[in-house]
Symmetry: C2
Subunit: 357 residues, 2 copies
């Protein structure tokens, strides 16, 4: 593990994306989202992903998995409150940032705003976009019909849905925003990767084999021996499945990834202004009061306190701002290798950026 300071890491990420021909604006947006995500403790979606995106940019632009910075966003539909965009093969981060920003602008005028996005790839951690709405005193909702169709429906054993995460952010008053960012499967794929690296078993009820029994090896999904199911098995799997269908319907049918033969990503970015219903002070006061109320519950054995959704990540963010951002050695080595290949002066940029891990 290495610990890295925030500002040098932003500069490094910017330099890497510039080195493969990304524009100033795009390199800044992408780097900020990736570094923010690492600060927030969401390592699966943070700076570890940089070398992968660089590789995508280096592919032939016609190749199936190519990422093509600078692809213009096409507006397919535009109304006072809604829009539908096609971002082609451009950065999901850039299109997502612009989509949620536009949803917020629409909501500032009309109390509700929503932008659908098709054609683009990975947008990273959803929390970042919903939180952008919360920073603007809006309720934010980001939905993603994930790539592929490898999640089994309730009662089935073959992949038919994406991981289909959803993320709500709710602005509070004295507390930091509530952020619920979750996969509609038992667990996000990134966590299964981490578990397999650490030699941990998956619990029964996450990964189903073709014969209907449960796999406990977290790598079984990557070996195509099992597929994930909706969360909450055995007594609530149909609820996780139901939420996955809703995300598939909203982000997928609105985007382009919800059908027998289409497998792309689909997203919706929605902002709702609480002043469409009540004053902002009253809304935030009630949210604070709810959080106080949750925290006043007696705890169970094994718990010191009750937390609200998103609070563990806010604590990790405080920690990392103080101590530096943790990056696992293999991920850091891949970043160093990419920098050398691109002749980016990583030693110069990072020289004061290391912190003792």
């Amino acid at each position: 593990m290495v610990r890295l300071k925030e500002e040098p890491l932003r500069k490094l990420s910017y330099a890497l994306f510039k080195a493969v021909g990304t524009s100033d604006e795009e390199a800044k947006i992408v780097s900020n989202i990736l570094v923010d995500t690492s600060i927030h403790g969401v390592d699966s979606h943070g700076v570890r992903a940089i070398p992968g995106y660089i590789k995508g940019i280096q592919l032939d632009p016609e190749a199936p998995r190519a990422l093509v910075p600078g692809t213009p966003i096409k507006t397919l539909v535009d109304t006072p409150t809604t829009a539908m965009w096609d971002a082609g093969r451009g950065f999901g981060f850039v299109a997502g940032y612009k989509a949620m920003s536009t949803a917020i602008e629409k909501a500032k005028k009309y109390k509700m705003g929503s932008v659908g996005l098709q054609g683009t790839g990975h947008i990273g951690a959803l929390y970042w976009y919903s939180y952008l709405a919360a920073k603007n005193n809006m309720i934010g909702l980001t939905l993603c019909r994930g790539g592929g169709h490898f999640v089994a429906p309730y009662g089935g054993v073959e992949g038919r849905l994406g991981v289909n995460p959803l993320c709500f952010a709710i602005p509070a008053g004295k507390y930091r925003p509530i952020i619920l960012d979750m996969a509609t499967t038992g667990v996000a794929m990134g966590h299964l990767m981490v578990m397999s690296v650490r030699g941990q078993d998956a619990p029964e009820g996450w990964l189903i084999k073709p014969d209907g029994t449960w796999a406990t090896d977290p790598r079984s999904i990557f070996k195509r021996e099992a597929v994930p199911v909706g969360f909450g098995h055995p007594y609530s799997e149909y609820k996780g499945y139901g939420l996955s269908i809703i995300v598939e319907a909203l982000a997928g049918a609105i985007g382009s990834g919800c059908s027998l033969d289409e497998t792309g990503f689909g997203h919706t970015f929605t902002a709702i202004d609480p002043t469409g219903y009540t004053s902002l002070d009253e809304f935030k006061g009630r949210i604070d009061s709810m959080i106080d109320h949750l925290k006043s519950s007696k705890t169970r054995p094994g718990f010191d306190e009750v937390l609200y959704s998103g609070e563990p990540e806010w604590r990790e963010e405080d920690n990392r701002r103080k101590l530096g951002i943790l990056v696992d050695d293999p991920f850091w080595e891949a970043i160093v290798k990419t920098a050398k290949e691109l002749s980016v002066d990583i030693d110069g940029i990072m020289k004061d950026g290391y912190v003792k891990a």
Copy 2:
């Protein structure tokens, strides 16, 4: 069990509400929603509830649990896309019907519409309101911060949240709408009542005792020996908890039930027009295609086929339209008793309305 025909049952319900002084319009709206709900197979929220509402109407209007038909709805906020209403102690059904109808009208003009509702009591099964949107080719979302604060937060053992159901309805093409209507607890309270009547045990992970162990007697919640937790325990309870917080924040903080000392209901009724993003035909075609895709999965042992959310209720509705609506004997006896007390000619109204159970 008795089986009853739809039309006589509507007439009976209407006559009962008229007999306690409810207006024509209100008696019709309430009766239609209750009978529709029974036809849809949601017995916990259907006609069995009639005697309870009648009792509420018969209370002194100042009593804490009084239901006061005819209470005017006050508009607190109104914008092109949103509104906030206070329905006082009037029928939740009537205010809810008008709120979703208004949300749909706003969405017809602006692609998105949403009405918050405070001050009112029970609105019955959420599916009815979201389905109203789907019948109008809209995506419907109904959120309810349920009465009381008796659901434990993740890590806690004391009640701090409502049951907090949420319901999405999505219009399809060749299929009937997807309807996901679910509590954010392991199970809705009505099902625990049914389980206790039938002598069934609740699984571990639904009801927590003050010492942090699980209760399996479904009556333990009504005996105040245990409280429900978010759904998905042990591996996804924090996700159900997170969704409960979101419903509490949206329906509660927008309504009036989300705070340390307020315990009322709060609702939001939202309609989203898919044509804000894409053509209706394209949207519905993708939904159909998704459902085809789900159904094409091989099944697990114990499952004959894959269903989508809401499909079991559509099948039960077909069944009941053919065979009549099932009503459990104790519920029917209570309705008969109420009719006699109100001198409603139940024998005359129902004479051709019985079907062999």
